[in-house]
Symmetry: C3
Subunit: 214 residues, 3 copies
């Protein structure tokens, strides 16, 4: 299943339901991510960065941030795990331009971004938990890339498929990826049948007894 099909046909709620059924009930974030640039859906494979706050002059400013964006591959979603820090806007117009150039599909930031108006004009998908005008230099920096990171209790492994939409963010562990996607496709059909039956006047209770999904 290619990333475009997944983006167009599936959504986080159905992925979460299938992961529940397979015994993975903790694959979605609950903290509110805002689609800052007005684009409400993003799918790709995790390219992870781990960030830390800092309080001294950085002798190598932006060192690993630049490596991260310059090493993006087509279809990557850049994950910035900054523990929700609001110390600076760690992702902005120039990193967005550089990562898009390498084929990056968008960015998920557990922390703050800046240059929102410019990234919106670029139509670059950005999901973040905060915003402020401060430069990251001497305030925050990447301390590791391409490592597992945890956001709101959910593990994002490099290469995992991640989807962000209006409801939230879901990560699919790679060893169940094919199974999850196939079952999600089937569940979408079952939900459509249920919805159509209800639309045609069936009561919700009867629809649930009949189709077994809600």
């Amino acid at each position: 299943m290619d990333l475009d099909f997944i983006k167009n046909e599936l959504y986080t709620a159905v992925l979460s339901d299938v992961l529940d059924a397979l015994g993975y009930p903790n694959q979605a974030t609950r903290i509110p991510f805002t689609p800052c640039t007005g684009i409400g859906k993003l799918v790709g494979r995790c390219k992870t960065t781990l960030w830390a706050d800092m309080f001294h002059k950085d002798v190598h400013p932006y060192e690993l941030e630049l490596k991260a964006v310059d090493s993006c591959q087509p279809g990557d979603v850049l994950i910035a795990a900054a523990q929700g820090s609001n110390r600076s806007g760690i992702f902005g117009e120039l990193l967005a331009t550089a990562s898009r150039n390498r084929g990056c599909a968008g960015v998920i930031v557990h922390g703050a971004v800046r240059d929102i108006a410019k990234m919106a004009a670029m139509q670059f998908p950005v999901f973040a938990t905060a915003k402020n005008p401060y430069d990251s230099q001497n305030r925050q920096r990447v301390i590791d890339l391409d490592v597992p990171v945890v956001i709101d209790g959910v593990t994002f492994n490099p290469g995992d498929i991640v989807m962000a939409d209006e409801d939230g963010i879901v990560v699919i562990p790679q060893h169940v990826e094919n199974e999850v996607l196939e079952l999600a496709k089937q569940k979408v059909s079952a939900e459509n049948r249920t919805r159509d039956a209800i639309k045609n006047g069936m009561k919700a209770e009867e629809a649930y007894l009949t189709f077994g999904v809600l």
Copy 2:
């Protein structure tokens, strides 16, 4: 006064002002509800549900949720009092479809919803305090319906008129309903006179002394 007139001519701020004047200074919520589906105004009579978090397998999944949506009456606003829990998305596309079928005008959720993109496509009014992709099954459930519920210190009684708009949510106790609506209609006129006088150059201080409203 019918619900359409109230929705088109009145707003939460003027209802709150009249309730203040009548000695009911605690009829509006202060916590931020988001109009998730892009529809900024909702008026109707409260159809209440009380929710609880759960941590075991539910032997009767969705039991009272289904009863609640299937027993909605035209003009009802479904109130989901879930104490702001972000454990799951307790209201989504199928419950929205079912409740709309019974004439429900929209839903107010003190807690999380999911399927936001689909409910926006349905143009179904949804005011909620959170969002996430998780199914409510085995996570949260309705434990009572058609009972008084309290959200942010405000009591929502079954049958009370409730209004949600960009400013917040106001509930009108039934025993003062007619008086509140009549006085609100009068106050709207007084506010319009004040605003027009200011627009025409009167200073705000003089306008307040002249018309007595702000």
Copy 3:
């Protein structure tokens, strides 16, 4: 440099970067202000008001609020420092109408506003941290005007240039105003060169080494 030029050519991130470089690293707010009326940018000179919660009947309702709006000058941005209180909607349609009449460019409220739909219809710029339907009378009042106020650790002095946009809010101390604006204009050019080089395929690391800005 006039206010229109500043608004059209500059933005909070570049002002913050220049203030960093000049040794003023604490001129931007980090708490999230919402552009409630859909207008994402506001520039002007601070007209400050300091608010306090109250719990008794006000013998002079709205006294200093009215003085504040009636004494606005063209290009002023009204600053309402209410310590983030959500006790009432302290700024609404009538104060917006009155302050606009005096040439006020918009309002920044560290606290709640109301009449959001009406102020959006007026196209009046409003940045606020909360919203609710309650009247301020007997709940909050202005206790000082035209005094320095502090919001989220940032000092807003009367007459300082303030800018609010999608990223946040930045205040420029008056004694460095000309220097900041001139340097910001230069930095915008350097950023544009960097962005264009990256767009044309230069890696981010090389671009940073070449142009020295990010």
